[in-house]
Symmetry: C2
Subunit: 323 residues, 2 copies
């Protein structure tokens, strides 16, 4: 016997009436509604979640897609959660741990109307596959993606990185090392391009070990500065870092090695976090929180069919004691 | 016309046969199944998500409940996500932004079998209400909660904080200030109790402004050290901090003020993060990642009806240059 049958039998009403109560139809008296609701409660009857959401048309939940969560993405995540919340939307974060099948759950959930829209922080699936879900709802990405179905709020990292590069050149540094982040990301490509352009422009010295990728953490920053400064051969006199965590590791380890900062080694972070502030590290202000606000506005515009209120965003150099 | 009707009509099969395909019944030939699946795809028919999950009995998704995400909870979150992933479970994080109604969505989702279990990082709803969802699936909490329906992996913060207190006493410090965290949490109560006990045991001086609560960030640590050291009257000579971020702020601001650390002011962090390591801050190792593993094992044990493989966990003092 189905739940509906059972509720109908116990309440003494027809299945059609029970169904009307479930569907919030106005054509049911309050007494009838109360009786049926009471029996549903006694039976611990769980109305189908999708049915409820579909009747309202929206779930008011937005899925965020990410492999994992680290310090660098926290400002994006928190700003998105807060902005969405101001508009009555809840953010649900789908972690994939890098597993394409788990990541796809979020997209399947949008297809099944469990979430209204998706914002991608990082993703691992083939972009063509992910793009195909664009017909089920808005998809916005924090990363740069050249897919028409996925709008992006990414900023041109070339420009931000160039600010740091031109700054250290102006301060007289020429032996530039780079601690780059994720080797496959378009953000890293943009930064690499800026470095190549500045090398050409100023005819700077280049060493093969001066531009490693995959450097994200304090410990990796510490290790990098040991490798760079203990190597035989020429040493860099400035390190531009993928983020402020790496810069903190570089700065502290360099000091422990007795290296004078910024006289012998300059350090530049990225993102201009509280850590860069408290440690006095020169950094590039990256309007991450504002990007998240833009991402939400793009989604909201699509969901409501209105114009998205986008902010114009710019990187800024914040000079401190390490350059 | 319902989707089922439409698929039946277009495929030439009965509704019963279409239904059998949807329910993965073995009593359908492969040819029939293929024909019907093809039509479902053409119609872009979305099978009901709950129905699919219910047929397997589990969604293999676990919900994490939290107000928001900060650096301090990242090790818990990431360790949980990773452990769950090793066992084939996906973690979905429900952010509430402190809104009880949004938080309740996660619990409603467990009731509707959209997630198999819940792990609470922080929560804002009345615990009696949340406990009532215990009948729908396992609920485990990172925080201490004295509810039989919610298992907890919390450690006794009294013991961890006492390690720090006894250490600074042994180093000769007596004027102890505390930067406490969330005033309403049982974790903070445990730490406050340890402080009160040590004050009594060693007959230590106490000032009303030496134990503020709600101190979580680098900036708040910087501000606190200015307030404490610029006040007229007696100054503390050691600050125990709610976490390593606060300790980093205290340490750097004290140095900027020309205060000698640890001679004039000692600093103790909490959690023993990479930040404490790179800045040389004495800290209390807090086995947060292992707590998350325990939380997952408790859930898995409940879901599979097996014994949970719990680890025995202990705090440890890690002495560095700030004490």
């Amino acid at each position: 016997m189905s739940n509906l049958d059972q509720i109908a039998k116990l309440s003494g009403f027809s299945k059609a009436t029970v169904s009307r109560v479930l569907n919030h139809s106005p054509h049911v008296s309050q007494t009838t509604r109360d009786t049926i609701m009471k029996i549903m409660e006694e039976l611990d009857y769980v109305p189908n979640g999708n049915a409820i959401s579909l009747s309202k048309g929206q779930t008011e939940q937005i899925g965020m897609v990410t492999e994992g969560i680290n310090e660098v993405m926290l400002p994006f995540l928190n700003s998105f959660v807060e902005t969405a919340s101001q508009y009555g939307y809840q953010t649900i974060i789908y972690t994939s741990g890098g597993d394409p099948a788990k990541e796809l759950q979020a997209f399947e959930d949008m297809r099944r109307k469990r979430v209204d829209a998706l914002v991608i922080s990082t993703c691992v699936n083939d972009l063509e596959l992910l793009s195909s879900y664009g017909k089920y709802g808005p998809i916005v990405s924090w990363q740069r993606m050249e897919r028409p179905e996925i709008q992006s709020v990414a900023m041109n990292q070339y420009e931000g990185y160039m600010l740091g590069l031109e700054h250290v050149i102006k301060q007289g540094y020429r032996r530039i090392a780079n601690a780059f982040g994720r080797p496959t990301s378009m953000n890293t490509s943009g930064r690499m391009q800026a470095y190549q352009d500045i090398v050409r422009k100023y005819n700077l010295p280049v060493q093969p070990d001066w531009s490693p990728t995959g450097i994200y953490s304090i410990r990796q920053g510490e290790q990098l500065v040991r490798e760079l400064l203990l190597n035989p051969g020429e040493h860099p006199n400035v390190i531009l870092c993928a983020n402020d965590l790496v810069a903190a590791g570089v700065l502290n380890e360099a000091r422990r090695m007795g290296v004078k900062v910024p006289e012998e080694l300059a350090v530049v972070g990225f993102d201009n976090t509280e850590l860069a502030h408290t440690l006095g590290i020169t950094s590039i202000y990256n309007p991450i929180a504002a990007q998240a606000q833009n991402a939400f506005q793009l989604i909201l515009g699509r969901l409501k069919g209105t114009e998205a209120a986008q902010q114009q965003l710019e990187f800024q150099l914040v000079k401190r004691a390490t350059t």
